[in-house]
């Protein structure tokens, strides 16, 4: 219990009257490119939200988007995403590769890809990223699969969605 104390203090959710971003949201775009048999995933988060989550989870100072960024950041991001983002296609779990990340002002993009997907009859997406840090976190998902577009929001008590084609 004692060792948990500093962690709990760090976990206090900030509340801005003005919003630095008073809202906790992320955007994940999932596109299926049939010609390449590939599922392409682009995720966008506020950099400071991700940093806070990683720091607390892995007990390190990641210092994202600074000169002193942790040298193994990508390794831990990959690990974190794999813990939190699960995708099932045609009812079986698929793996994906973390291609890398990119910063743009106060946001960070993650790029993931899964290949050798012949067809998609159904997809189930479970995205619990940042929920342990921010109760209000809303993970928006936008899919473009088999020429059909869908948008939905995953939240702490509603963390997965299934689409059938």
């Amino acid at each position: 219990m004692k060792s948990l104390k500093p962690l709990l203090i760090l976990l206090i959710v900030p509340f801005f009257s003005f919003i630095a971003h008073k809202y906790y949201i992320s955007m994940t775009k999932i596109n299926y490119v049939k010609e390449e048999k590939a599922l392409q995933i682009t995720m966008r988060f506020f950099t400071d939200d991700v940093e806070k989550t990683l720091n607390n989870r892995f007990k390190k100072e990641f210092e994202l988007d600074t000169k002193s960024e942790h040298t193994e950041t990508d390794k831990f991001i990959n690990l974190y995403i794999h813990q939190k983002l699960q995708i099932k296609i045609n009812e079986s779990k698929i793996d994906y590769t973390f291609l890398g990340k990119e910063y743009d002002n106060d946001v960070v993009y993650f790029y993931l890809e899964s290949t050798d997907i012949d067809n998609i009859k159904s997809i189930e997406i479970k995205n619990r990223m940042l929920f342990e840090e921010f109760k209000e976190q809303q993970n928006f998902i936008k899919t473009n699969i088999n020429d059909q577009k869908h948008t939905f929001i995953l939240m702490i008590n509603n963390d997965k969605e299934m689409l059938k084609y």
């Binding site: 709990l8 801005f16 009257s17 630095a20 400071d48 002002n105 890809e113 109760k135």
Partner: protein, 758 residues
């Protein structure tokens, strides 16, 4: 010649009407409907203009507003984190109505153990509970917050009846307060100051490891609610998000703090000289003329010495503020103070920052500079800052505004280093909060009802100030920043015209989307000159007054001479999004032979088509009318003798030389999958590489909301057409924005390519 042209024109007009009639007769009879035009005026949404508020959006000749003056004695008890106050309110009833009772705001009651706030918030368990929160939530020891009212007394020191209703208090009057009269009454109160780093909210104290507290004290005294012509008494409870609506008034405030505290707050500090050392006072005086850079008045060294003192003695700060709608202050042993003078017209205004050493080196470098940039830009676009100072206070996790003073986050790491993100976040919040002095501290809109009226207008002006401070600054108000929001799940979006406490995503709804809307009005719909004049007119008409949304909408139209009802209707009253695309582009050739269409029309009206020759006809190159030889007609003036003759008869040789060499004709079909009506911004790229822009106003969509055609003629061949190339209209789907259709690399593809190239 002229007659024939007229004849053709009228023929086309008549024939198309006849054609439409013919078609509708074939269809099933459709039900009727109300006016569903997106250009319908807002008469049913906006209140009827009256003598208080005019149809032009200005205050009417009988406009009135109440006034509340305060005399207060405050004691800040640092040892116990309590605050005590006795206040005398002088309430002026300038309304034409007699008032049977008065309503007072008790915003601190949001922290009372029995506050409604928690009960009106649905949701399951929290993700985690720190020990303090767990104890408060489940072990029967909630934070004992909220006002403790000792008494409410009238001018003769007799108790008055009062009833507390959540964050409001009704004070009963023995006889109604007559129109045009005033009343004095007195309230004695105290409350426990919350640690805002745990309790959250906009005020409280931040404890430091060295044993000091930094107090940012606001909404700290019972304040008069607004009574006006649109709401009567303000009656929305304070739930946490919808901020404050308050009458203007004058303040005389004495604040007693520990003797070694440094305090800044709303209004003049009348005894400042006594409060500073001789050296500091000299620096303070010197800063009054330091126009080029901030001067440090209380140094870090002095603050570090000061914070070790923990004096048991007290001192009293004498403050006076005129024509403000609220009062707030910050106080601590830890504060460093710097200031710079800013010339605004004939007057000099002070830009001031106070911060603990934990804010340095970031704060001494950027805070006051950001305040200066805000004062200059906002004064230019709205009106000169009317108060004598604007203070930026460094406070952990905060971003909150009060008259003349605001709390701003942003601290470097303990070793003094900071990321660009921390720096930009801090500059952005300072500009935003100082900017709130205009909206809503002076242009005093009702924040409890409409968050967007101050947040949206301020986020827009913030963008102008940020771009002035640092061109290319990542401002949140650009239209491209709201695309994902507007393209999102409709169940989680509310129109901007929604009560602030009831919107899903306040950041987008009250800040970014209205700001992006104003940016579009300025850059696309009205242009800078018309917009700036109208925006300035709104600010000046309503400074030191209480505007409503209708006053804003009406003034923007009135001062720009432009009907914008369609824009307010779409962008502010609905959750519709913008998506305009190019469906098709058809090339037309030119000929002097009547086309099938011309012949058909002539026949329909029993006219010989040869009657209106000679004339020119445009031929769809994909239609049966088109023949190969028409491709040779590339020089209309010479190819068609009668056109050449007409020109020679009507124009001089010089004039003919200056005529455009038009020979390419395109029919562009625009589609609009989005429900919003918007102008069409078209970039035409010619085969020779040159570019041209063409603007079609939104009213082009009046008669067809889904699809329209437009003829475009030019002297050069078009290579490609791009819609909204600078991303100014929040178009949610750009895949249909180009002709020929571009297969644009997705963001994903671009990243992958870059990755491979590395």
């Amino acid at each position: 010649m002229k007659k024939i042209t007229l004849f053709i024109l009228s023929l086309i007009f008549i024939s198309s009407a006849g054609f439409a009639q013919e078609q509708s007769q074939k269809k099933e009879k459709q039900p009727g409907h109300y006016n569903i035009s997106k250009f319908k005026q807002l008469k049913e949404e906006l209140p009827t203009p009256n003598t208080y508020r005019t149809a032009s959006g200005a205050p009417g000749h009988e406009y009135y507003q109440q006034q509340a003056d305060y005399k207060m004695d405050i004691i800040l008890d640092d040892e116990n984190q309590k605050i005590f106050g006795v206040e005398t309110i002088t309430y002026h009833n300038n309304s034409p109505d007699d008032l049977e009772y008065l309503w007072v705001q008790l915003d601190q009651n949001i922290r009372a153990a029995d506050a409604q706030t928690k009960d009106v918030k649905a949701g399951g368990p929290g993700v985690f509970y720190n020990p303090a929160k767990f104890t408060q939530s489940f072990l029967g020891k909630p934070f004992d917050g909220g006002f403790k009212i000792d008494y409410v007394k009238n001018a003769s020191d007799n108790d008055m009846d009062y009833t507390v209703n959540g964050t409001m208090m009704r004070v009963d009057l023995s006889t109604p307060l007559k129109s045009g009269t005033k009343i004095d009454f007195k309230i004695k109160w105290w409350y426990n100051i919350p640690n805002y780093t745990i309790e959250r909210g906009r005020s409280g104290y931040e404890p430091f490891k060295d044993g000091n507290n930094a107090y940012i004290i606001a909404q700290f005294f019972p304040r008069m609610a607004v009574y006006n012509d649109v709401e009567g008494w303000q009656n929305l409870q304070f739930l946490g998000r919808g901020e404050f609506t308050l009458p203007f008034g004058n303040y005389d405030v004495n604040i007693t703090t520990p003797a070694d505290h440094l305090l800044e707050g709303t209004g003049h500090i009348l005894n400042r000289k006594e409060m500073l050392t001789k050296k500091q006072w000299k620096r303070f005086e010197k800063a009054q003329t330091s126009y080029d850079k901030p001067l440090i008045i209380v140094t870090q060294e002095e603050a570090e010495k000061n914070e070790k003192g923990f004096s048991k003695k007290t001192k009293t700060w004498k403050m006076k503020a005129e024509n403000v709608r609220d009062f707030a202050f910050a106080s601590s042993r830890k504060y460093i103070l710097d200031a710079q003078a800013v010339k605004l017209g004939e007057r000099t205004v002070m830009a001031v920052s106070i911060y603990p050493k934990e804010g340095n080196p970031l704060w001494e470098e950027f805070s006051t500079k950001a305040v200066v940039a805000t004062l200059e830009t906002y004064s230019k676009h709205l009106f000169n800052y009317p108060y004598h100072k604007a203070i930026s206070v460094n406070a952990k996790q905060q971003g909150m505004e009060y008259p003349m003073i605001c709390w701003n986050f942003g601290r470097p790491k303990p070793d003094g280093s900071y990321s660009q993100r921390t720096r930009n976040g801090m500059i952005g919040v300072i500009i935003h909060e100082v900017g709130h002095n205009w909206f809503p501290m002076i242009v005093n809109s009702d924040e409890r009802q409409w968050g967007w009226m101050d947040e949206g207008l301020n986020t827009f002006t913030q963008l102008l100030a940020e771009q002035y401070f640092e061109p290319g600054f990542a401002s949140r108000g650009f239209p491209k920043n709201v695309v994902d929001y507007m393209d999102g799940n409709q169940n989680k979006i509310t129109p901007i015209m929604s009560n602030h406490d009831n919107v899903f995503n306040s950041g987008m709804n009250a800040y970014s989307k209205p700001a992006a809307g104003l940016y579009m009005l300025r850059e696309v719909i009205l242009g800078n000159e018309l917009f700036d004049k109208a925006f300035k007119t709104y600010a000046n008409r309503w400074k030191f007054k209480h505007p409503t949304p209708a006053d804003f909408f009406r003034t923007m139209e009135d001062a720009s001479g432009t009907d914008l009802d369609w824009f307010w209707r779409g962008w502010f009253y609905t959750t519709q999004y913008n998506d305009i695309g190019i469906k098709n582009v058809t090339k037309y050739a030119i000929t002097d032979k009547p086309t099938a269409r011309a012949k058909r029309m002539a026949k329909m009206y029993g006219v010989d088509v040869n009657n209106f020759l000679p004339a020119l006809f445009l031929v769809d190159t994909e239609s049966g009318d088109y023949t190969q030889d028409m491709a040779n007609n590339t020089d209309p003036m010479n190819d068609f003798q009668f056109l050449g003759d007409y020109l020679e008869e009507n124009f001089t040789e010089e004039e003919i030389k200056e005529l455009k060499d038009t020979k390419y004709f395109y029919e562009i079909t625009f589609e609009k999958p989005g429900e919003l009506v918007m102008p069409i911004l078209m970039e035409i790229v010619y085969t020779d590489g040159t570019k041209e822009s063409k603007y079609y106003p939104a009213k082009i969509w009046r008669f067809n909301d889904k699809e329209i055609k437009k003829l475009f003629a030019s002297d050069k061949e078009i290579k490609e057409i791009n819609l909204d190339p600078n991303k100014l209209t929040a178009d949610v789907d750009t895949s249909n924005n180009s002709w020929p259709k571009k297969k644009e690399d997705s963001q994903f593809d671009q990243f992958k390519k870059k990755k491979i190239a590395d």
